[in-house]
């Protein structure tokens, strides 16, 4: 089966700014792909290339098996897109805007339109100018979700939604997934990513630095351990995979363990006679911090050999 989105070595420069630098991205049909990266890493740029809004300099891009630039019109009947900044026409009402996007785009099911308006608690008679940021986003979301698209491309769709609406959004995405739709979701809201996404792709400075399931990514990080042993524990510091070793006294220490080495390290500690042990799996925040903060020079794709769906 061909991928819903396939991007290989995609590069795009704005003047001297290299916004995308050989980016890779692959989304399978029926998947929800989280698309993550720090500010300015190129998420929106990549999405705009996928939408045929921007041209790319080099690399291969295919969306639903077609070229997003030359087959834009055809493709757009099958894709619903919600941009990060939703700008509406001051003189058009929310309802008119929803109908406009629907008719020009992936179609509009009137019953579903009304249901979505109801669900997102939107007043469709207000003029564009008078909507708040969150309500502008809801207009775009309703237009996208009320259509018949096969692929949904969301660029930070919920950055202005309140928690109630965030839940409505997550539930609705859950529903469309049961219809076999595909979703590409760029987001800075980790809880949303965690609850919605099967897979994530993390990019930095226009390059893919990590891709895979959340479980796989977790595996790549470290677990924090605090242990008290009967035998002296200091020797553990030199075991493979242990870092950040802090000895509180001879028998009590804190350290972190690369998940790949977890069982060896643990059996080593067990040999010393465990009196007390506490371990914490990496939180999602820590997972992302690692990728967002680390210098990317040697943090590229290759280091994480064979992870994800490559």
């Amino acid at each position: 089966m061909t991928a819903a989105i396939q991007v290989e070595k995609l590069s795009k420069a704005f003047g001297t700014t290299q916004a995308l630098d050989e980016l890779d991205l692959r989304v399978e049909p029926g998947q929800v792909m989280g698309f993550l990266g720090p500010n300015g890493s190129g998420k929106s740029t990549a999405i705009r290339v996928l939408m045929g809004i921007l041209r790319h300099d080099s690399g291969n891009v295919s969306v639903l098996g077609q070229d997003p630039w030359t087959d834009a019109v055809d493709l757009h009947r099958r894709i619903a897109y919600v941009p990060g900044d939703v700008n509406l026409w001051p003189g058009l009402t929310g309802g008119e805007t929803i109908d406009l996007f629907g008719r020009l785009g992936s179609g509009l099911d009137p019953k579903r339109r009304d249901e979505m308006i109801e669900r997102f608690d939107l007043d469709p008679t207000k003029k564009g100018r008078t909507y708040s940021k969150g309500n502008r986003q809801k207009v775009a979301l309703v237009a996208a979700l009320a259509g018949n698209a096969d692929l949904f491309v969301f660029d930070e769709p919920t950055s202005g939604l309140d928690p109630l609406m965030e839940t409505v959004f997550q539930n609705t995405i859950g529903e469309i997934l049961t219809d076999g739709k595909t979703v590409l979701l760029s987001s800075h809201i980790l809880a949303e990513v965690e609850s919605l996404c099967d897979q994530v792709t993390i990019i930095r400075e226009g390059r893919t630095v990590e891709a895979g399931t959340l479980a796989e990514l977790r595996y790549l990080t470290r677990t924090a351990v605090e242990a008290t042993t009967t035998e002296p524990i200091t020797a553990v510091a030199s075991v493979d995979g242990v870092t950040g070793f802090v000895a509180h006294d001879n028998h009590h220490a804190s350290f972190s363990v690369a998940n790949a080495n977890l069982s060896e390290v643990m059996s080593h500690v067990a040999d010393l006679g465990i009196e007390a042990i506490e371990s914490q799996p990496p939180t999602l925040e820590e997972l992302f911090m690692r990728h967002y903060a680390v210098e990317p020079a040697n943090g590229g794709v290759d280091k994480n050999n064979g992870v994800g769906n490559r």
Binding site: I53, V73, H76, P83, E96, R103, S106, D123, K126
Partner: protein
């Protein structure tokens, strides 16, 4: 009114000056250059004429004054033919109502920029929150407007004094220019309180300016009271170089004071960002026509196109109402008739000449409307509203072509509307239609010039989008050639750069159809190229 109401005004003034330092400098330099060129080139023209016919410069001035006093087209464009036998009076006439209208425009844009536009972008809210009083924004922009108009007035006076004019009269003339600016700044101040959008406020202020211009045009041609209810008429009534009257200054001062007072009262009655006229809810679903690219473009442009059509018809109507005055001039003036007949000119030729000038001027103004329509796609793109639309199944070509089609249709609609307005009011005055078909044909023949300018704009849009607004530079060039080309004694090749100059031979003249064809070709080729290039470039995103 507590002192705190104006807290922070000084900082706001400084902010405005910093934001606007280039814009305001350019406006002032441009206007003062226009003013300064007038004595310079007029003296040269008159001296040359005097030398050729071996009389004194004063005599040439007097002869030209006699001709100008009967020239309805000049009077309608420039103002009352007062004190034309003095150099000062003649300069003031040549600078004219048109320059005053540009001064008014500068003030309207200045006020709108620093009040409504600021509020729309949300910056005003920040400014107000940072411990500035409710009236400070208003006071700051008013102070800047006051300073700008004072500099303009003083500069104008200096130009006249340097030419050797009477100091007192020069100062009076400068003051009338200052008052002209202040009056329209005050008018804009009121409208920005009433409307929620800068665009609506600017539009209403411009409508008042158009009305003021029209009223004084009729009033001046017919020498009646209509000039006296127009702010532009007031400042010209001062007649700085003839029999000076001062009451217009007092009326202006009173009007400015009332307007500023009203604006101060209104500003505390509304929320920041809101207008006195509130938004009403609209339809919850879209009408059928909104679902097509053309229907959508029409929805975005229709109100602008409608108001421009009304404006064009109105301008035509204003000038139509004074056509019959030309016949009156000739009937009343035996010697004038003889002079004209000696030159081989009939009353009909004069009438056609008048309509030619008026239709060309309306074509120039309508060009601004056509450009505004042509720029709509760019505004949509810059505002980030093109991106979601072009992410639907509407192709780039369809999207842009829809807008361009409307722009192309707008040009003939504006021109025919002005032709109809002109003919109808003339017919109302005279009792019958005169050469209706010829007038409409003359209005239409100017359309390719508008198309050519719009076509260049579309080409810029597709090819070098950051310079799309450069089409206004083309417009400025055309306007300068039209309004000041003769005065500046521009050489023919320069004059011929203006597309409008090639299609001004109707009514009554011999229009070369080659120029019409060439203009159409320029429009078609550049427009089509622009659309093709647009399909190949990145879209700017907000």
């Amino acid at each position: 009114m507590t002192k705190n109401g104006f807290a922070g005004t000084r900082q706001l003034v400084r902010l405005i000056l910093r934001l606007d330092r280039i814009k305001l400098t350019l406006w002032l330099l441009g206007l003062l250059t226009l003013v300064a060129i007038t004595p310079f080139s007029l003296r040269a023209i008159i001296d040359a004429e005097a030398e050729k016919s071996g009389v004194s410069a004063e005599q040439v001035l007097a002869e030209q004054a006699a001709l100008l006093e009967t020239n309805a087209a000049s009077i309608a464009l420039q103002g009352p033919p007062d004190a034309l036998d003095t150099f000062g009076g003649r300069y003031a006439f040549e600078i004219g109502a048109f320059t005053l209208a540009i001064v008014a425009l500068m003030n309207i844009l200045l006020i709108a920029r620093h009040t409504r536009a600021e509020e729309e972008s949300g910056r005003a809210e920040l400014v107000r929150a940072a411990s500035v009083g409710p009236w400070s924004a208003l006071a700051a922009v008013s102070l800047v407007a006051l300073a700008t108009n004072l500099i303009l007035g003083l500069g104008t006076s200096v130009v006249f004094i340097a030419d050797g004019q009477d100091v007192g009269r020069s100062l009076l003339y400068g003051a009338s220019m200052t008052f002209c600016g202040l009056l329209f700044a005050a008018i804009a101040l009121i409208w920005v309180q009433v409307f929620e959008y800068g665009r609506a406020a600017t539009g209403m202020s411009l409508a008042v300016l158009a009305l003021a211009f029209a009223l004084r045009a009729i009033g001046d041609v017919k020498s009646n009271w209509l000039s006296m209810i127009s702010p532009l008429g007031w400042v010209q009534a001062v007649n700085s170089f003839g029999d000076v009257i001062l009451w217009p200054f007092f009326v202006s001062m009173l009007a400015v004071a009332i307007a500023v007072g009203a604006a101060i009262a209104l500003v505390v009655r509304r929320d920041v960002g809101a207008g006195l006229i509130q938004q009403r809810p609209g339809p919850p679903t879209a009408s059928q026509s909104l679902g097509t690219p053309l229907g959508f473009a029409w929805r975005l442009q229709r109100s602008t196109l409608f108001w421009w059509t009304v404006g064009a018809m109105f301008m035509g109507a204003i000038y139509g109402s004074v056509i019959s005055a030309i016949d009156d001039f000739i009937e009343d003036n035996e010697s004038m008739r003889e002079v004209l007949e000696g030159m081989g000119m009939s009353g009909d030729a004069l009438r056609d000449g008048f309509i030619t000038v008026i239709l060309s001027m309306i074509a120039l103004i309508a060009t601004a409307g056509v450009i505004q329509s042509m720029l709509r796609p760019r505004s949509e793109e810059v505002a980030g509203r093109a991106e979601p639309v072009l992410a639907t199944a509407i192709s780039r070509r369809e999207w842009l072509t829809s807008h361009v089609v409307l722009t192309a249709l707008a040009a003939p609609v504006f021109m025919v509307a002005s032709g109809i307005g002109l003919s109808v009011t003339d017919a109302l005055v005279v009792g019958q239609f005169t050469n209706f078909g010829d007038t409409i044909a003359a209005a239409l023949v100017r359309v390719p010039a508008l198309w050519a300018i719009a076509g260049l704009g579309v080409l810029l849009y597709g090819w070098a989008r950051r310079f799309t607004f450069g089409v206004w530079a083309v417009f400025a060039l055309v306007a300068i050639i039209f309004l000041f080309g003769d005065l500046l004694r521009l050489p023919d090749p320069a004059m011929n750069l203006s597309p409008i100059r090639h299609v001004t031979h109707l009514p009554g003249g011999d229009q070369g159809w080659l120029s019409v064809g060439v203009l159409c070709a320029i429009a078609a080729v550049s427009g089509a190229t622009g659309i093709a290039l647009f399909g190949r470039r990145d879209l700017d995103t907000a």
